[in-house]
Amino acid sequence: MVVNEGTETISEHFFTPFTEEYLAIVLQWRNSERVRMNMHNNRPITQCEHKKWFSALSDDQNRESWIYCQHQRPVGILNFTDVKTEHIEWGCYLGETDILPGSGLILEWAALSWASRQEHCLTLGAQVLSFNTSALKLHKLFGYEKIKSEQGGTRLLEESDVEETYQVHFFSYATEMWKNNKLKVLTRMPKPIQKAIGQIQFLYKD
């Protein structure tokens, strides 16, 4: 049984635990070029590898994954690691393209919102590959602190026929700071995003 966190109605923007019913769609997303290009490992994933990954994820008490649904349709995923620690890490992607404009902002908000409700969590961390300018801009807009950068690998980048080196940027957000900043951040959001943010719900398993 799934129960709502706050209200009894199903929101237009909710997050539900990643269960077996979403296996096929998530594999499709993971293997799309748009998602793979921003991952540490960008090679295609087999169904067998995907099932093993999901099995490990399900057994790991230190990881949580949430499917983001718009109008009850799965469109993306939020992944958290180290969830039992004070320093939770997260990552996300949008799997679908017919989505509310600016949905990446909703994922950013949801991640911080979820982390700040974990009482033991002091910081939310994220890693971004240097060519993922979209995520870099979002982290800057929300006010993440850049902790460090490390040499990544090489990657054949768009509009280039030679492999180029990239960096991995590490970001962190103190949850206490988020509690102070979130209203300021909210005012920077376009109206449809503000409305969607107001509707975010995490549906927990009973």
Partner: protein, 86 residues
């Protein structure tokens, strides 16, 4: 008013402001998330169009199927604009 041209112009303006590089040409079937505008740029586009058209269809209309392509995006704004004039 040519809504398609308004949207095209707004995309160019937002791309410049948000440091995005639009692909060329933007065609009817161009997927918006692959147009060069990122999530932030796409959100800014909605804000820019609200300023220009006085219209925010994603807030004002009960849209349950969101646009994926440029043509679908233009249709939503055209419908919103027509509704506003009616």
């Amino acid at each position: 008013m040519n809504i398609e041209q308004v949207v095209r112009n707004a995309m160019i303006a937002v791309a410049e402001i948000s440091d995005c590089k639009l692909i060329t040409p933007i065609e009817a079937q161009t997927v918006l998330l692959e147009s060069g505008l990122d999530s932030l740029g796409y959100a800014m586009l909605v804000g820019q169009l609200e300023e220009e058209l006085g219209l925010d269809p994603f807030t004002e209309m009960a849209i349950t199927i969101y646009p994926s392509t440029f043509a679908e995006f233009v249709v939503i704004y055209q419908q919103g604009y027509d509704r506003k004039l009616a």
